[in-house]
């Protein structure tokens, strides 16, 4: 399973992200990541906060697995509770990236 994480915008305007291939992770961590992904959502989602909001940070998680591709897009106003643990894991590993 491969996971592509990107965040951009927000007050800081800093772009960060990380690409993870679970095949390269230690077995225990790969298992934990699989559990986080499973808990996150079985389907894709796209949610945006209110159009009048300003400085919301945008998040994108793309998961490529045996069954296909799952895309999760949301922002600070619409972070799904089920995704919070996976998001925290990815944010801990994210590094700065030039804006794409």
């Amino acid at each position: 399973m491969r996971i592509r994480y990107r965040e951009a915008g927000g007050f800081a305007g800093i772009s960060r992200g990380v690409d993870i291939d679970t095949a390269t992770l230690p077995e225990d961590e790969a298992h934990d990541v699989g559990a986080l992904v499973e808990a996150a959502t079985p389907r894709g989602l796209q949610r945006e906060g209110p159009p009048e909001a300003r400085d919301l940070r945008g998040y994108e998680i793309v998961i490529e697995h045996d069954d296909g591709r799952t895309v999760l897009r949301f922002d600070d106003a619409t972070i799904p509770a089920a995704v919070e643990s996976l998001l925290a894991y990815l944010q801990d590993r994210a590094r700065p990236r030039p804006p794409e």
């Binding site: 915008g9 305007g13 919301l56």
Partner: protein, 348 residues
């Protein structure tokens, strides 16, 4: 402060709630204001009005400075505003985030009132509502369209976002923009929106410190930077990167000239990136005119903001600021020349 924080969980028509919000009884007033703030019906009304370019506002009891600070208690956006913990006139809290949100929104109100004779964000005295402790380790602060919301930071990249006066001034200025130019939040209009928020956020700080343009740091967010980064600030108005090759932040992506403008789709078309171009133009104007930046450069920019419309871009801002400089100081004034030279220097 009263311990009674329960909103009025009953079906009261809005005009009754508004009257109760002006009650001389502090407990009744607070409960009414809580109810107004939390009313799902009002939220729906506000959303509709926002789409029309106008915005409902939580009424201030006396149409003057009125701050409400809530504790979001690490809840999420849907839980806003949270629990009311400090209202206008209440004694200081033991929580520094609460006091910073209260004090910094007060300084921002005072700045707009004394410098531009503007009575709050809507110029009709709307309440300034802040929620602190939003989310867990949230590295952000934002304007929801109705109120300010502040994260605590993760303690590594950032500390609490209430700590910088320019951050609070920036967020509140988004509210002013919503009630004036109402610039769209994408591409150049969005970058102009971010630019104006940075300009007045910086000017609030300079005004509070009584600094001249030469004395000001021209930085955004220096007080919220976390202990694990050496980056001095998030943005600078000067012609230099705010940070470079930082392990946590990378390199400042803001251009200072049109030739380097970001053209990708990230960050709604680079609204926090391309704001660097007009930011630098404003800095050049302020430095060329000299003195206190809010008195002349700030006045030109404020009057321009009032005249802009939602789809305006950088060229429109440049043209408008030239017109305002002429109106305020004369067509052959050094102030107008400073504006012309600054826009030219950034490629406009």
């Amino acid at each position: 402060m009263s311990e009674d924080r329960h909103p009025l969980h009953c079906i009261l028509p809005p005009y009754i709630l508004e009257r109760l919000a002006e009650s001389p009884d502090a407990r009744v007033r607070r409960r009414a204001i809580d109810t107004i703030a939390q009313s799902a019906a009002l939220r729906a009304t506000r959303s509709t009005l926002a789409a029309m370019g106008a915005m409902a506002a939580i009424p201030s009891p006396r149409a003057r400075k009125h701050r409400l600070v809530y504790d979001a208690k690490h809840g999420n956006f849907v839980d806003l505003p949270g629990v009311l913990v400090r209202e206008e006139g209440d004694r200081a809290s033991k929580d520094p985030s609460v006091n910073e949100a209260y004090n910094h929104s007060g300084y921002t109100y005072d700045f707009y009132k004394r410098v531009f004779d503007r009575n709050s964000l809507d110029d009709r005295g709307m309440s300034l509502v802040s929620s602190v402790h939003l989310g867990r380790r949230l590295n952000n602060a934002f304007w929801t369209g109705e109120q300010m919301a502040y994260g605590d930071g993760d303690g590594s990249l950032f500390v609490r976002f209430t700590k910088s006066l320019d951050v609070v001034g920036h967020e509140l200025t988004h509210g002013v923009i919503t009630h004036t130019a109402n610039l769209e939040y994408r591409d150049e209009p969005g970058a102009l929106n971010e630019h104006l928020a940075d300009v007045f956020g910086s000017l609030v700080k300079q005004w509070k410190k009584d600094q001249t343009a030469a004395q000001a740091d021209w930085l955004i967010g220096p007080d919220i930077m976390g202990p694990d980064t050496e980056a001095e600030a998030l943005r600078t108005f000067r012609d230099e990167p705010a940070f470079e090759d930082d392990p946590l932040f990378g390199t400042d992506p803001q251009p200072k000239h049109m030739r380097d403008k970001y053209t990708g789709s990230s960050d709604s078309g680079g609204v926090h990136i391309n704001s660097g171009i007009p930011n630098h133009a404003f800095y050049l104007v302020a430095r060329a005119i000299g003195g206190r930046a809010w008195e002349k450069a700030g006045r030109i920019w404020y009057d321009s903001m009032l005249a802009l419309t939602p789809t305006c871009g950088f060229a429109d801002m440049a043209e408008r600021s030239l017109q305002e400089a002429s109106s305020l100081f004369g067509a052959r004034s050094r102030e107008r020349r400073a504006v012309r030279d600054a826009w030219k220097a950034v490629g406009l």
